[in-house]
Symmetry: C2
Subunit: 108 residues, 2 copies
């Protein structure tokens, strides 16, 4: 059984949402602090704006898609075998300066 | 607004679930048939078994995690701007010979 958290962030800092290097570091930090094992990761910068990225984990994955123009980010933290997925969500939320958010937890 | 489909497959062919090359092709085929634009993709083969992979799309992502030992696969098709996400789900389900499945559609 795995835990899948679907996190939607609103009112984030647009500059941060548009910074591919920051998003890369953010994904890595979230995985590290949640004691997950990073296997590989890829990111992509859209022009004029937006970043998308995924970290493959031994425990599944973390993904993020950002829309700086509206301050929105959609994050998935899907883990099998980690109890710290919520920590990963909190780190991402805090580092992007989200004003508001909603989160859905699905057991699958 | 985006459409996120969480697809859980059961009773899949264990050999297919354990074939990294097949999973890679499957992700690519699903994206292609759903008229999505592939930006990049990564896969990882676990030992003794299991494959995990993600395709980054211009429209968001498709991910898959497989457990050949139980015939299970967990698939996410998250798209912004494509109406054909259900086609991607159907292709993956058919190609892995799933006996049973459930699917959840989340608008986010």
């Amino acid at each position: 059984m795995g835990d899948h958290y679907l996190l939607n962030l609103f009112g984030c800092d647009p500059d941060k949402l548009n910074d591919e290097k920051l998003i890369k570091k953010l994904l890595h930090d979230a995985a590290y602090c949640a004691k997950m094992t990073v296997l590989n990761f890829i990111t992509h910068k859209f022009y004029p704006q937006g970043v998308t990225g995924v970290v493959l984990l031994a425990e599944s994955h973390i993904s993020i898609h950002t829309w700086p123009e509206t301050g929105k980010a959609a994050v998935d933290v899907y883990t099998c075998g980690s109890n710290d997925a919520v920590i990963a969500c909190s780190i991402i939320r805090a580092q992007l300066d989200a004003v508001d958010y909603n989160i859905e937890h699905i057991v699958r």
